[in-house]
Amino acid sequence: MKIQTMKCLVAALFVNAFALGNAQAMDKNYSLTLSEPNEPARLEVELHYGELKVIGYDGKTIEISAKVTEPKNEPNNKHKAKIKARMKEAMGRHRTEPRSSEGLKSVKNQSVNLEIEENNNSVEIASMAMNQYVQLTLMVPYNTSVESEVFQGGGIEVSDIRGELELQAYQGGVYAKNVSGPIVAETQMDDVVIELSEFNSSTPTSLTSHLGNIDITIDSSVSANINVQTFQGEIFSGLDTEFVAVDQVNKNDKKRKQKIVLGGTMQAKVNGGGQDLSLSTYMGNLYIRKAN
């Protein structure tokens, strides 16, 4: 088996001497050749502060574009903004007071610090910097599987991907369109919005948001068991199939004990049912739409 390991550090690029304070951006592009260009790739992205966009295309390389800029995605409602401000305040409490900078001039960080590693079509991209907002745009072959985590800043946008998706954003949202899954997505504060072009029934799909809404659009031909639960929000459905409460009657092997739970979860067996598609949120609403 051909194994090729490539590791590079793209750093300290003094392309233009401009400052972040001027709201201008500096960027770096890199084209990554895969060890096995005709085989599906697996991409793992970890971004500590920034936002991620992954776009599928008809190519065999991974095109990386990293831009350091000012944050642009702010929480989309007052409630979330309040939570974010509280978190910032809580984190700020542990910082010491700044010392005098009199007579010194400010030196802005002008490097894009990004680590890229490829090993036998498994690609890892990480930006660990906490003090620079990185807008990372990746163009990948259609059938790439994507696993990504964005800790602070914005969210994750994915489009035109046929591979498996595992997406986690802590402050921003997760937005995916023209994808087939399976998808496991999770957000803390913002929404999960998914437009499925097809539904991969090989393994379950599950979307979770703690404070945000979940909005999913599926094709009318999709067969699935759609399970929904929201603890404080509402459920809105545009499907023809009704959601019904699932009653559970369980007996142990010796038939001496039984447990009956009426209406624990809500489920719709769309087009006769199929693989599980689960939507769970604590405070947000659930929106299930049928594609036109």
């Binding site: 696993e147 498996e164 595992e166 986690q168 899954g181 399976p182 998808i183 496991v184 999770e186 393994t203 379950p204 799909t205 599950s206 979307l207 979770t208 703690h210 603890f231 404080q232 559970q248 369980n250 007996k251 142990n252 092997d253 004990k257 039984q258 447990k259 739970v261 624990g264 979860t265 599980d276 689960s278 769970s280 949120t281 604590y282």
Partner: protein, 275 residues
Amino acid sequence: MTFEQVIDWKLATLTEGADSHMTAEMAEYVNQHPELQQELEFIEAFYADSAVSNKTPSASMDAGFYQMLSKAQAAVPSQMQQLNDAEQTNNTSWVEALQSWLWSPRPVAQFAALALVFAVGFNANQGPQNGGAPELASLQQQVSSLNTMLALNLMDKSSASERLSGVAYSRESDLSDPLLQQKLTDLIQNDSSTSVRLAVLNRLSQLSDLSPYTEILLALTADNNNALIQFAAVRILLNSADKDIQQKLQTLAADERLNPDIRQLISNRNAQTFA
């Protein structure tokens, strides 16, 4: 007396508990046909492999499978030889060759054995009211064990979607299996994906006996870091009729540091119970 009659009698003794004593006529017939004797031994061995001990179903099932496989592999060359012989005999038609192959004792016995497996498997799916025989329980145990192996394997995968599949497979498994209990416990406490943790909690909500998981569920209820997990855990506990669990929930609800929504939920349920 024919091969089929003897094989039918053998299957009846194994599946229906019919008289296991061979008649003198049958014994003489079998003695005259060593190939039939082999087939009877094969069916007996096949049946014995199915009735493995409940204590170690996985290992026995593995052993049984490989034993069966080696026998099947050994059978193939002899069948091929028969076919070749039929082809080489120019004075026999293809219909005769086919009949010879079709009615030779080994395929008949194998077909009968496969039919037996199918019938037992079909009955196993008809629910416990039709079962009851020890061999059926053993087969159900094996299926459950196979699901457990598959579930454990999938739950170890790095992909969250595959771990979700593993949890789904555990629906068909016996949750008293210690390895499975340990894995599920590990997932609800440590998995990086809330989706996976919720799926495990959903699985546990179907249990009639929560005792192996009670302390973990109480700990998850007390942990304010993930409200979705907290709610799912407390809902399972609130549905339990165990007085000790309800008492512990009351103690938790008295703690002002607990998520107010959870405290409210416990209080509401308490009020309903005593209303």
